[in-house]
């Protein structure tokens, strides 16, 4: 079987230690979390880091908590833990929707939330989820912590704002009443990357959309977002017609690329269809009509 090239291995004992190790080993070092994106790429020799800094021992990054009206997810929370989290699922059912279809149950035991976000694969699911939720990423470096909205976190395929000597430590999501959320994905087979997927978070005031967040993956949406569709919906009646129109707008603004998962027109169609479906389901949940 394929095997990685040689590298140095260090084990971080704290976030500060991880940052110090990143400084010491320079840009050819990489943080190692769950490893389920990185290690296969190293085996295929598509990634050849000189040093791996293992952060799996940083238990302080493995907590899920509700603090100050925010859901706080440590970067090392495993996918399976997020999926099982009562507090995360209660406030944002789209986490469960998404986690159920991220990779497979065994991979979810190892893969981490922060690792997925930092891998920045343009087909990754949580990037769309956090975009829909307008989450904020907390990044720590030599000079302390800074926060970056997830909508500004990705700067391109496989590229994020996290610097060479920085580490993503937490993702925060504001908890607001009156909301519902949902995530819908089409995949060729269980465990496959998305052909397309869309997440929606919706807050209702009566039958009007008070606020909405949308996230799309695998369809070339700028920063995984659909701001034009959000703009259209905000303040509008939460109707089937408007959800369909929002989907149409989202589809119009994405830039899907054909691959073996599907041609451009199909992915664009899905962007619209799945946006509308997620909105519909999010609205039902906001109305308390569906778990």
């Amino acid at each position: 079987m394929q095997v990685p090239a040689q590298f140095e291995y260090e084990r971080a004992t704290s976030v500060a230690h991880a940052v110090a190790l990143l400084q010491r080993y320079g840009p050819e070092s990489r943080l190692l979390a769950g490893g389920h994106s990185l290690i296969p790429m190293m085996k295929l020799r598509l990634a050849n880091p000189e040093t791996l800094i293992d952060i799996n021992g940083l238990d302080e990054l493995r907590t899920i908590s509700l603090e100050g009206g925010e859901l706080r997810l440590g970067a090392l929370v495993r996918h399976a833990e997020l999926m099982a989290s009562a507090v995360a699922g209660e406030h944002f059912p789209m986490f469960r929707d998404a986690e159920r279809v991220i990779a497979d149950p065994v991979v979810r035991n190892r893969g981490t939330v922060g690792g997925s976000l930092c891998q920045a694969d343009p087909n990754e699911d949580l990037s769309a989820v956090f975009t829909a939720l307008r989450a904020v990423a907390v990044i720590e470096g030599v000079d302390g912590r800074r926060t970056v909205p997830v909508r500004e976190f990705h700067v391109g395929p496989y590229q994020t704002v996290v610097g060479d000597t920085e580490i993503l430590v937490e993702i925060r999501v504001s908890v607001r009443p009156g909301g519902g959320s949902a995530y819908t994905k089409v995949e060729r087979r269980a465990g496959d990357w998305a052909v397309a997927a869309a997440g929606a978070a919706l807050w209702l005031e009566g039958e009007r959309v008070a606020d909405v967040g949308l996230g799309l993956t695998a369809v070339g949406a700028d920063h995984f977002g659909a701001p034009q569709a959000e703009e259209f919906l905000r303040g509008a009646p939460a109707t089937e017609e408007n959800f369909a129109e929002a989907g149409r707008i989202a589809a119009e603004h994405c830039r899907p690329v054909a691959d073996q998962r599907g041609p451009e027109d199909y992915k664009r169609h899905l962007a619209g269809e799945l946006t509308a479906r997620s909105l519909r389901r999010a609205a039902a949940r906001a109305r308390g009509r569906e778990a």
């Binding site: 990685p4 291995y9 190692l32 389920h36 290690i39 035991n109 190892r110």
Partner: protein, 164 residues
């Protein structure tokens, strides 16, 4: 670097290259060849072992990441009193053919029953969905896991042995 890994209850200390994959540590260093490998991309799941009690794809874990942790492989399933009920059920229900994916399937099934002693067929299918079997079409694996659950229930014990 030197690592110490507890495998099937036995502590092993070995000096390994950081890049050594856990699956090769088990197979080549410890001679535990019951853990197989089938792909390079963590898709097929024939390399599944239990890492601290949870199924993990050992082709995508570095041996150094298992330092200080507990690994359970297929060789550690049977106890002094014979086969694990899951092993027996796989034979009874013909849940294996070529045997290559079987160790991983057995371990995932064991972990599932430890957590959920009465899984539905749908829950069983979900639990093994990260592992590919090319021979059985899965049906008899599902029946085997159900049979193991039923037998444990009949015996009046939790299907599992591990509680935490």
């Amino acid at each position: 670097m030197q690592i110490t890994v507890t495998v099937n209850g036995v502590e092993y200390t070995r000096d390994v290259e950081p890049r050594l994959l856990l699956v090769h540590f088990l197979r080549d260093e410890l001679g535990l060849t019951g853990t197989h490998w089938g792909c390079d991309t963590s898709n097929c799941g024939v390399c599944v072992v239990l890492l601290d009690g949870l199924p993990a794809k050992s082709c995508t874990v570095l041996a150094v990441m298992a330092d200080g942790h507990e690994v359970r492989t297929v060789e550690g399933l049977a106890g002094a009193d014979g086969l694990d009920p899951v092993q027996q059920a796989f034979s009874d229900m013909h849940g294996l053919q070529c045997g290559f994916c079987t160790p991983g399937m057995l371990l995932t099934s064991r972990a599932l029953l430890d957590r959920n002693p009465d899984p539905s067929p749908a829950e069983i299918r979900e639990a093994i969905s990260g592992q590919v079997c090319r021979c059985t079409g899965y049906e008899n694996i599902v029946r085997a896991v159900r049979a193991a659950a039923d037998r444990a229930a009949e015996a009046g014990t939790a299907a599992g042995t591990v509680t935490s």
